[in-house]
Symmetry: C3
Subunit: 153 residues, 3 copies
């Protein structure tokens, strides 16, 4: 156990994986914030805060563009951050140089923060598209090292 | 390899992570059950069971509130259980006390079972909201230990 | 660190987990391909390629059956491949025979490739349903070994 925590690449992976997972988790309270301020809920039981007429509550069961935007951003995080975490962990076990590993982790995590800002603020393309591609390429690069180092089919 | 399996915190993590992932997987057959009993499918090829007129099959390509509820519960599992598994694994490597680790794992897994029951049965709030927050806090607490123990930026 | 990379079951897991995660990631460019060829986008800023009238851009904010099909396939990957990766990693640590482990990894990864082809090409059931069930059973079988080997509640 102590061995892993004495390994710098594993420490760096733990740090960046935790940061980017926390960023992903942050999308949930952000969705809740937009649901409450835009009064746009999916579940009948969520519309009961305060004293309200049934008619008023029914109107709150709606979709809202701001809520849907944050939810798409959250979904994109899941589709990209989960592969990074899995392949990044296996990559850390292949014993790369610390500087090379740090480069991968920093570029990926940075790209995902830029992606989130681009998505939530609806910045003009290709800001969001480019940050998404950079993250994908970083993960592919680590996957390439895993497959060339550890291949056993 | 044997080292990890001699470590009680890692054994406890393996047990609780497996249980909560199995709980998450259970949402898929539950969705299938509601799709079949409510006759609400997303794919044309799924409506072919039994001999049916094309008109009848077209009606089965609909959304149903019960199906959508289970799907939202499944999605919420993905958004919360995946972060728990990633951060919980890294947390296990930081060498916490077994009793502290067990407390985290038990509270998280318990909160997710309560969350599922609250969601699927549409129990009044704040039952679902509270169980969701408890799970989030448990994961944050483990992330805090990972970042304070393993920080390498 | 080197210990893990000298373990054949862990090498095999690394290989198959990376392959199946790359397959999952492939769904994203496939979605982008269908969005562009079908002119069906979710975000206003994505409709700006080329010189276009606002009216024309508004029409591109639509859902398309082909896009939605690929997205459902991607979502099903997340719901099934993430549990495989988590439980497969823990399973590798229980020290199974290499041949037994390889059987599990190969059957799972094979079933997911068949699932994707069945889904995207809309092959008649039960091709998609069966490949999904085979993947689930493989993951359950590994979860059973984890729980019987590593149980610590």
């Amino acid at each position: 156990m102590a061995n892993l925590m004495n390994n710098d690449v594993f420490l760096a992976f733990s740090t960046y994986a935790t940061i980017v997972i926390l960023k992903m988790m942050f999308m949930a309270p952000l969705t809740a914030y937009f649901r409450i301020t835009r009064k746009a809920f999916s579940n009948w039981e969520d519309t009961a805060m305060g004293k309200k007429e049934p008619e008023e509550r029914k109107k709150m069961l709606q979709t809202n563009p701001d809520v849907e935007r944050v939810r798409r951003c959250h979904q994109n995080d899941i589709e990209n951050i989960v592969p990074f975490v899995v392949i990044g962990l296996l990559y850390a076990f292949t014993g790369p140089d610390l500087s090379t590993a740090l480069l991968h982790f920093r570029v990926f995590v940075g790209s995902r923060f830029i992606h989130t800002v681009s998505y939530v603020l609806a910045l003009p393309q290709p800001s969001r598209g480019l940050s998404w591609v950079v993250g994908m390429i970083t993960t592919f690069s680590m996957a390439y090292r895993v497959l060339t180092t550890a291949l056993l089919l």
